[in-house]
């Protein structure tokens, strides 16, 4: 099994980074922040440091961010064809498919696999599958008599994810993987991992020790949606305490996480670790960008 580590471009030149990487495959970039997307210079720097090409990360990209990313792809297509790209934006996937098909090895990132299975991503015990039942028809449109109307909890006679809302049919996903020549899928959800492991033969990666709970562009380190950023968040992990949630919540960069254990499964092909530095004394920044004090 391959071991990989997430590395923000701002950390490349920091002391201690080579020790952090050791022999791991480097995932260069960020899945949640457009300001931490890699440049070609970052790509070259990591290649020199480790002796092998890093995997390129990406997030949901705005048009300006996509234009910058296109510059990186253009360089890599010429000088490092075959580089792995983690795609987390359906627009980026289309862009690569239209312009660079066969030039990159495509990985569907965890946002893309969540995109297909939105509600089955909660913590164990926090799933709330709902079946869709109506006045006089079941979901396939057949007439049903004597059935109580309205929403019902999971019908235990129907197993498998395909009977639930918010789970894209596996036949479609298989076709999608083939159509876009996807070589690997990634997730931090045990449920989604098993879905792909049981139904496809594609390579699967798993993220740990945190799983995503929410992402945002309102960055607590920058005080809102910042037009530019020098990534003061680094690898800082904020532990957020409340008695109201039954699980521990963390903030890192501009995303929120819960703890996650590395899945144990024979199909696990790559484990991707997020480097963390516990940070105890953080005061959120406000009034910088999205909370102006006057018009």
């Amino acid at each position: 099994m391959d071991q990989a580590i997430l590395l923000s471009p701002t950390l490349i030149s920091r002391r201690g980074t080579p020790e952090l990487i050791k022999n791991s495959t480097v995932y260069l970039g960020d899945e949640f922040c457009i300001h931490k997307q890699p440049s070609y210079a970052d790509f070259v720097a990591v290649s020199k440091m480790t002796g092998k090409s890093p995997v390129l990360m990406s997030t949901l990209l705005t048009d300006p961010a996509l234009e910058s990313y296109a510059g990186l792809l253009s360089e890599c297509a010429k000088k490092a064809p075959g580089t792995e790209v983690v795609v987390n934006d359906i627009g980026l996937l289309r862009f690569i498919d239209m312009n660079y098909r066969g030039k990159f090895r495509i990985i569907l990132g965890r946002l893309m696999t969540y995109f297909f299975d939105t509600k089955h991503t909660r913590l164990p015990g926090c799933t709330r599958p709902i079946l869709w039942t109506g006045d006089d028809s079941d979901p396939s449109g057949r007439k049903v008599s004597g059935r109580k109307t309205g929403l019902r909890r999971e019908d235990k006679t129907r197993k498998a994810w395909e009977t639930k809302l918010d789970a894209t049919p596996i036949a479609y996903i298989r076709d999608f993987i083939k159509r876009y020549a996807v070589e690997r899928v990634e997730t931090d959800s045990d449920y989604i991992f098993r879905k792909y492991a049981c139904n496809t033969d594609i390579k699967i990666s798993f993220y740990y020790p945190l799983r995503l709970m929410a992402m945002t562009r309102f960055c607590p380190f920058m005080g809102g949606i910042a037009p530019r950023c020098s990534a003061p968040c680094g690898t800082n992990l904020l532990k957020l305490k409340t008695r109201q949630l039954d699980y521990q919540l963390f903030s890192k960069g501009n995303a929120y996480f819960a703890k996650n254990k590395l899945v144990k499964h024979p199909r696990l092909d790559r484990a991707i670790k997020m480097p963390l530095t516990p940070c105890s004394g953080f005061k959120p920044v406000t009034n910088n960008y999205t909370c102006p004090g006057r018009p």
């Binding site: 934006d89 049919p169 562009r217 305490k241």
Partner: protein, 291 residues
């Protein structure tokens, strides 16, 4: 801009269409959640009413559905379009492909859940027949220039709906839900401690939100959207605010005056007094048509 509003009953359709909404949208007749019609006949009556008033109607199928539901959804949507429904709000790419394969191509409108953040993502959906796009509430005007020029676009009224987190990638449950049994407000509104400091998930304020609304209007966004909600009294107030702000925009107010007007109006309206949008308020009577 034109106003589109999510409704859940024929009474609401009647009220909002007569009060100036340009379009109503609603969930399927078999409820996927409680902010929905319960009978197809009510939907058909709403479509008929909208047609009579020369307004538009959309069916919102903005969930991801299982394969076994496709046939039912197609038949339901076909019956409604056959009776004058103008289009479908969608997010499920697999369902869109299914509709295409069945040669069912009404006007498709992308939901905020489609996570369209750029014009390339729009092209992905355009290839599947989508012609109108809901801009994500965390896209800034300077990011959206290409998107707005590429197709007809919808924006949420920023001072009424600007989620702190990005949907569909927010997996927190509602208060009282699994994992959040002691939670009184949504996690994005809850107070946390980080070390000795207070911590809240960062939001924007009214000045910022009002500026967004103004800038997107200038950019050329065509539609203002008010989302469906269970709390009818709040929905009515949000509609009135939207209609008023839209009038100000159409009148060509300058940015600073508009921002001031929004902050004053929102402070005076104090939407907090209505409670959360997901609270069921069944006791609310829809005001008389010309109230």
């Amino acid at each position: 801009m034109r106003i589109t509003i999510g409704i859940k009953s024929l009474d609401e359709a009647d009220y909002f269409l007569h009060q100036g909404a340009d379009e109503i949208y609603f969930g399927p007749a078999v409820p996927s959640h409680r902010a929905s019609f319960s009978k197809e006949k009510e939907i058909l009556d709403s479509i008929r009413l909208a047609k009579k008033l020369q307004k538009k109607t959309l069916l919102a199928l903005n969930e991801i559905y299982s394969r076994e539901q496709y046939g039912f959804l197609l038949a339901h949507a076909r019956r409604l379009t056959g009776n004058g429904l103008d289009g479908l709000v969608v997010r499920d790419v697999a369902l869109l492909e299914y509709f295409n394969s069945e040669k069912f191509r009404p006007n498709f409108v992308s939901s905020i859940m489609s996570s369209c953040f750029n014009s390339q993502a729009m092209k992905f959906y355009m290839d599947l027949g989508v012609g109108r796009f809901t801009l994500h509430s965390q896209i800034m005007p300077e990011d959206a220039v290409k998107m707005v020029s590429a197709a007809e676009t919808i924006m949420f009224v920023s001072c009424l709906f600007l989620e702190p987190n990005i949907v569909p990638f927010c997996f927190f449950t509602y208060p009282g839900g699994p994992g959040a049994s002691k939670l009184k407000v949504r996690p994005c509104k809850a107070g946390f401690k980080c070390g000795r400091h207070d911590f809240r998930m960062l939001e924007s304020n009214l000045y910022f939100q009002a500026g967004l609304l103004y800038d997107f209007h200038k950019l050329g966004v065509q539609w203002l959207k008010i989302p469906r909600q269970l709390n009818t009294r709040k929905l009515i107030t949000e509609f009135k605010i939207t209609r008023f702000l839209n009038l100000l925009l159409e009148k060509g107010l300058d940015r600073e005056s508009f921002v001031k007007a929004v902050t004053e109006l929102m402070t005076r309206a104090d939407l907090n007094k209505y409670g959360s949008s997901y609270l069921i308020k069944p006791d609310v009577d829809i005001p008389a048509r010309h109230a």
